[in-house]
Amino acid sequence: MKKKNKNKIEPESPQAMAQLDAILSEHFRGALAGQSGRALAAFRSEIQHTRRRRIGWSAFMAVAAGMMIAWGVMAALTRPNNKPGQPAHPMEVAKAPETPKTAPMMVQSASWSRMMDDGMTMVNNQPARQLRRTILQEVEYYDPATKATVRMMIPREQIILIGVKAD
């Protein structure tokens, strides 16, 4: 049995235009039905992505700021004292001439060092082996005048270059 064509347009029918209207409306609705809501979903996804990016950036900035502050504090603590009229290095305080009454006494001193091989380098167009020596010296003083104990940590670094004979 042949199936009735419900979308058939009768050529001279007075309802031809109404049939056409129905066919077109149904066609466009059907064709675009699957597309509704895609734009909204894409926008929400984009907003979430942007928020995540912002949070990540803020966290990075916070960490960077924290590192800067820490670096600043470290620099302030290890900075040589360059005030006018005062010695440039804490070690010089101990060496500076003082009256025996107020001179702090060195109680103990210890140092740790580590040597690292930085590999080959060129110095004045000559090959050289570069060694890096890091030294941490701890010195403790006792000031009888104030009865204060002062402990200092002095980090140092030495670069040692050993000439290599090029054959």
Partner: protein, 185 residues
């Protein structure tokens, strides 16, 4: 709490310009069908039209500051949709889109004969639509899909109501002639 459904377009645009994503979501909900109609008029491909509309709304969100008159958001948006659709038309369509579309369409109907007939009709309507010029096609789509008045269509397409009426009349006649021959001939 703001009820976005009750706000006018220019108010929603004002909210969205201040970064209110909910207001822009309301604008999307209100204008998505219109944008789809415009894109489909250019592309004649539902999947690509959906892609273009999606992209157009994201672009509109980023460029809201460029909109000089908030009340003219619909026509401004349709301009973006149309430009993106024209760009997209130049690109090649991916085969996967056709497969997805076919899968969706197959899922719509359980009667294979009905489905086959519907698909055949769809193909013929698309062929008939393809013979029309772009403005006439867009006018027909906006009338039948979004049920817009001639004045609203004219505003979106940047023409006059009289020109829209003329195009609708000629387009309907051309479609009727084409479909009468195709479906009954």
């Amino acid at each position: 709490m703001t009820s976005y459904g009750e706000l006018a377009v220019d108010q929603l645009v004002a909210h969205a310009r201040r970064g209110d994503a909910r207001a822009f979501e309301a604008l999307i909900s209100r204008h998505e069908r219109l944008a789809l109609g415009v894109a489909y008029g250019v592309l004649q491909d539902a999947q690509l039209a959906g892609d273009a509309v999606q992209e157009a709304f994201l672009k509109a969100w980023k460029r809201l500051a460029d909109l000089t008159q908030p009340g003219s958001f619909p026509s401004w948006l349709c301009g973006i949709v149309r430009n993106l659709s024209v760009d997209q038309k130049r690109r090649k369509r991916l085969a996967t889109c056709e497969l997805e579309e076919a899968r969706r369409e197959t899922a719509k109907s359980s009667d294979p004969a009905d489905e086959l007939h519907r698909r055949e009709t769809g193909v013929r309507v698309n062929e008939a639509l393809a013979t029309l010029d772009e403005l006439t096609r867009s006018a027909l789509i906006l009338r039948y899909y979004e049920n817009l008045s001639s004045r609203e269509i004219a505003s979106v397409l940047g023409t006059t109501s009289a020109a829209v009426d003329m195009r609708l009349m000629r387009g309907r006649q051309a479609m009727k002639d084409k479909l009468t021959v195709e479906l009954c001939g």
